[in-house]
């Protein structure tokens, strides 16, 4: 460990720490655009100016290593003046189109301007004109006039995805970010460049113009798109959920997430949800309250002997839901419990960065819950028992992310061999048209709990303030189906 003094605060840092990290550690503000903790040092924005005692000139904190006894500061008039000018150089050719810029409200330039600027611009010359609305592919739009050439996006594609689609072309104040020969920026992690862009140069086609960011709340949770379990922030307001961004976790996802994970909020919004339970009757489909439907199923369960009842689970629910569910399965008394493994052929795939072939957030949790009760029935056995007519009632705890279950239609056909089929699902699906009961489920943003990722790490998910549907969690549904009443104030 090394001792150093940052703006008068004495701290200890690990050997090899850069001064900018020491500032963060000391809780001292330091301006920076090009430095990003997940990328190499570029040292080009020249905003993280510091004064080191004994050094003749100002230095940049991002490329200066802390040495024993170093006394460093960035609050002197000299540094403040340098930062003010550093900001001014960034702004002279910037279009200042904040009112129509998507980044407004979370823009590095705006933040710095409020701190160091608030003056009349001295630039009286014409700004450099550059390309606007450059289409970088399916996901991203670039505005090269807003760009401050911090090179974060270029370094991201060089260092993280190693795809190197982006480069800085031309030189001097004519420099522009671009793709080689106008090829698209189209890798599985491309949207991260939007997150790390400190200004509004790179915007996401999916999110741009949808919401002003100051009208959004956000809560952190865990991505349910695969078994990696990236930590994410979900942004929402009373109108619905709007975007997902990664949250730093050095052990799981560092600063990044994949582009597929950006879509995990889409099925959550009201317009795509299953809002009422449905019961198939001879007269047609009857709409019901979810709880009433589950109680109906309870009376069905009683009509059959326990070995005639089967449950099929997917790896898309929380550990807590599984634990309770298994308890109620036990109460019902059946051993017919099965694990529906989607895409078995690519289940063990890994792209070397974050994306895993197991497209479930909690396969590990499900397996553990099954093992705890020694439920070890095989899929072959399920097929045999359905074909022989031994299983009369099948309850499916269906997937929340249906797109990762491409064989949904085929499996429902198989399950329909039972006399009665009950499907628990957050969203409708054409395949569910003829099931006997379809009961709405909560999504991962509407309940508390935890997921266990591929490596066995247990991570909590959060219930957010916007709950879009009156739906049940798996444990509630199971409890009702087992003939118990829900307690008031249970985990709703």
């Amino acid at each position: 460990m090394l001792k150093c003094t940052v703006n008068g605060k004495e701290i200890e840092v690990a050997e090899g720490t850069m001064v900018i990290e020491a500032f963060k550690q000391a809780g001292e503000d330091i301006a920076h655009y090009c430095w990003h903790p997940g990328l190499s040092v570029a040292g080009v924005c020249r905003l993280c100016m510091i004064e080191v005692e004994g050094a003749p000139r100002l230095m940049i904190a991002c490329n200066t290593q802390v040495t024993e006894g170093m006394v460093v500061s960035n609050n002197s008039a000299k540094v403040q003046e340098a930062v003010k000018w550093g900001l001014d150089f960034h702004l002279i050719n910037h279009p200042l189109d904040c009112p129509i810029c998507d980044q407004a409200g979370e823009c590095g330039l705006q933040d710095q301007y409020m701190k160091f600027g608030q003056y009349d611009p001295e630039m009286a010359e014409r700004k450099v004109k550059k390309r606007k609305v450059v289409d970088l592919g399916r996901k991203i739009v670039l505005d090269t006039e807003r760009c401050i050439l911090c090179s974060r996006c270029v370094r991201f594609t060089d260092e993280v995805t190693k795809t190197s689609e982006l480069g800085i072309f031309n030189r001097g104040d004519r420099s522009e970010i671009g793709t080689h020969e106008d090829k698209p920026l189209d890798n599985d992690y491309a949207v991260n460049v939007v997150d790390i862009c400190p200004v509004g140069a790179l915007t996401s086609k999916d999110f741009r113009f949808k919401q002003r960011v100051w009208y959004l709340d956000n809560d952190s949770t865990v991505c349910n798109g695969c078994s990696t379990g990236c930590n994410v922030n979900v942004y929402y307001n009373e109108k619905g959920y709007f975007r997902v961004k990664p949250e730093h976790n050095k052990d799981i996802n560092d600063y990044w997430m994949c582009d597929k994970g950006r879509n995990i909020f889409k099925h959550v919004n009201k317009e795509s949800r299953l809002l009422k339970a449905m019961k198939k009757t001879e007269a047609g489909t009857q709409m019901m309250a979810p709880g009433a439907a589950a109680k109906d199923v309870a009376s069905l369960v009683k009509n059959y002997s326990s070995e005639q009842v089967a449950f099929v689970f997917t790896g898309q629910y929380t550990n807590e839901e599984y634990d309770d569910a298994m308890m109620y399965v036990d109460k019902i008394g059946t051993k017919n419990v099965f694990h529906w493994v989607n895409n078995p052929e690519s289940f063990d795939d890994f792209d070397g960065i974050l994306l895993r072939g197991d497209k479930n957030p909690n396969t590990a949790g499900l397996i553990k819950a099954l093992e705890a009760k020694s439920f070890n029935a095989t899929w072959e056995q399920l097929e045999a028992d359905l074909n022989s007519g031994k299983i009369k009632l099948l309850v499916l705890a269906g997937p929340e992310l249906q797109e990762y279950f491409p064989d949904i239609q085929e499996k429902i056909q198989l399950f329909s061999k039972a006399e009665k089929l009950v499907v628990l699902s957050s969203n409708p699906n054409p395949a569910y048209r003829d099931v006997d009961y379809l009961i709405p489920m909560k999504t991962f943003v509407e309940k508390k709990g935890s997921f266990t990722n591929f490596a066995g790490t247990v991570q909590k998910i959060q219930k957010m303030r916007l709950v879009v549907s009156q739906a049940l969690s798996l444990n509630e549904a199971m409890q009702l189906m087992a003939g118990d009443e829900l307690q008031v104030g249970a985990n709703l």
Binding site: V41, A42, G43, V44, C45, R46, L47, M49, R57, L58, N63, E81, A82, W85, G86, D88, F89, H90, I92, N93, E122, M123, A124, E125, R126, V128, I148, L149, I168, N170, R171, G172, D173, R174, S175
Partner: protein
């Protein structure tokens, strides 16, 4: 008086080819070097006080001793990307004596224990690239390059690499980036090239004149070398003199030589009827001197520093009283704006900004506050960037405005040049 050490035989055409070069003592110092330990040569260069001739004037022997002793492969790069406006002495050296550079590189390569050298030549010097390639072939054929040179057991390979016209590639780390096949942009320091340079290996980058000088330190010895120059600025130096003198050209004089004497004696003085107005003593980046300063200064690192300027690459640009300083600054800033690599914000944006202001003034559209603004913006570009290009644009700006403010004020007030009496459109058609 000129002191022709390096340039002694430059007037002889035969000195270009290997036979003529050898006739005048060429390649004799290689054998001399091989008799010494590499460290002894480094010590000799240190003792001789040789300082880098490319612009920064860093002590060469000290640079060499920064190489880490870690057994890694090392590279010796010759910086022949002579791009500083006003500078043409490396061109002269390579045109007149390509073997002199090659011999200097073999000796230096031996001293720093490198087995691979590159000469990075500016792209516009197409004819020099051909000349060097021919000379290198001759040296290989004569056994001065390649494996086991002259039975010494020392191997040294040498190649020429063509730049593509970017000024920034004359900055040593920009040059390394370019040589590596990347966009020519300077790299962050630390790490310094001596520790991590070309292909991330320890690398020494020296100017053409620096490398050639090493040969003469070996030939004449430290004492003889130090006879020329001053205590801290030793040896002779080639100066590229251009502008309003009777005989512009390359002149080799001892460091510490009076600038007045260089202009009036070597270069034959100014044109008839003209008066000296200013001198840029070290290439376009060096702060300009007014006539009074110019005539009291000597051409060495310390003397020029004492008047707030620098020796730089040794490019002396002489300006007489018919020149408009506003016009000159505009041309200079156009160059730096064009050449900024665009990496660091203060340089990328600043060079464009001051160029636009200067251009607005010469177009007759300047505002009174623009004169101060030029100086303020330039001051805030100083010492803020990875390399010195930002400073190189700022230094002339500050010194032009400070020393010739009346010309700027006149231009803003009247919309025409004080010296020419005409507008930009009238002068430039």
């Amino acid at each position: 008086m000129e002191a022709k050490i390096i340039s002694e035989h430059y007037t002889k055409d035969e000195f270009i080819g290997i036979d003529g070069y050898k006739k005048h003592g060429g390649y004799e110092q290689i054998a001399n070097a091989f008799k010494m330990q590499p460290k002894e040569i480094i010590e000799m260069v240190k003792a001789a006080g040789l300082r880098g001739r490319g612009g920064a004037g860093f002590p060469t022997g000290m640079k060499w001793s920064f190489l880490p002793d870690n057994g890694e492969e090392r590279y010796l790069l010759c910086n022949a990307d002579e791009g500083e406006p006003g500078t043409f002495k490396d061109r002269k050296m390579m045109e007149r004596a390509p073997h002199q550079l090659i011999e200097g590189m073999i000796i230096s390569g031996y001293a720093v224990n490198s087995h691979k050298g590159y000469i990075y030549v500016r792209g516009e010097y197409r004819h020099i690239i051909e000349l060097l390639e021919k000379a290198i072939k001759e040296a290989y054929d004569a056994g001065y390059l390649g494996k086991n040179i002259q039975g010494s057991g020392f191997d040294f390979d040498l190649d020429v690499y063509s730049g593509a016209g970017a000024y920034i590639c004359g900055e040593e780390t920009g040059m390394i980036s370019s040589l590596e096949g990347y966009k020519g942009q300077p790299k962050l320091k630390p790490p310094f090239p001596a520790v991590q340079g070309y292909l991330k290996k320890p690398t020494i980058v020296n100017n053409v004149e620096t490398l050639a000088s090493v040969k003469y330190i070996l030939r004449d010895g430290v004492e003889a070398y130090r006879k020329y120059g001053t205590e801290k600025s030793t040896g002779t130096k080639l100066f590229s003199v251009s502008g309003d003198v009777q005989r512009p050209g390359t002149y080799e004089v001892p460091l510490g030589y009076p600038l007045k004497q260089l202009i009036e004696e070597e270069c034959g003085g100014l044109k008839p009827g003209r008066k000296l107005k200013a001198v840029i003593p070290g290439g376009s980046s060096a702060p300009i001197l007014n006539a009074e300063e110019a005539y009291k200064v000597n051409m060495d690192y310390e003397s020029l520093q004492s008047v707030g300027s620098m020796l730089g690459s040794g490019a002396v640009i002489v300006i007489d009283d018919t020149r408009c300083m506003v016009d000159l600054l505009d041309v200079t800033l156009h160059f730096y704006h064009h050449e900024s690599c665009g990496q660091c914000t203060p340089c990328r944006e600043g060079t464009g900004w001051i160029n636009k202001i200067a251009n607005k003034i010469v177009k007759g559209e300047g505002r009174v506050q623009d004169i101060d603004l030029l100086e303020t913006v330039a001051k805030n570009m100083m010492g803020k960037t990875i390399c010195a290009l930002s400073d190189a644009a700022a230094m002339p700006t500050i010194s032009f405005v400070q020393k010739f403010r009346d010309e700027f004020e006149f231009y803003v007030r009247e919309g025409r040049s004080k010296v020419k009496g005409q507008t930009y459109a009238q002068v430039h058609g």
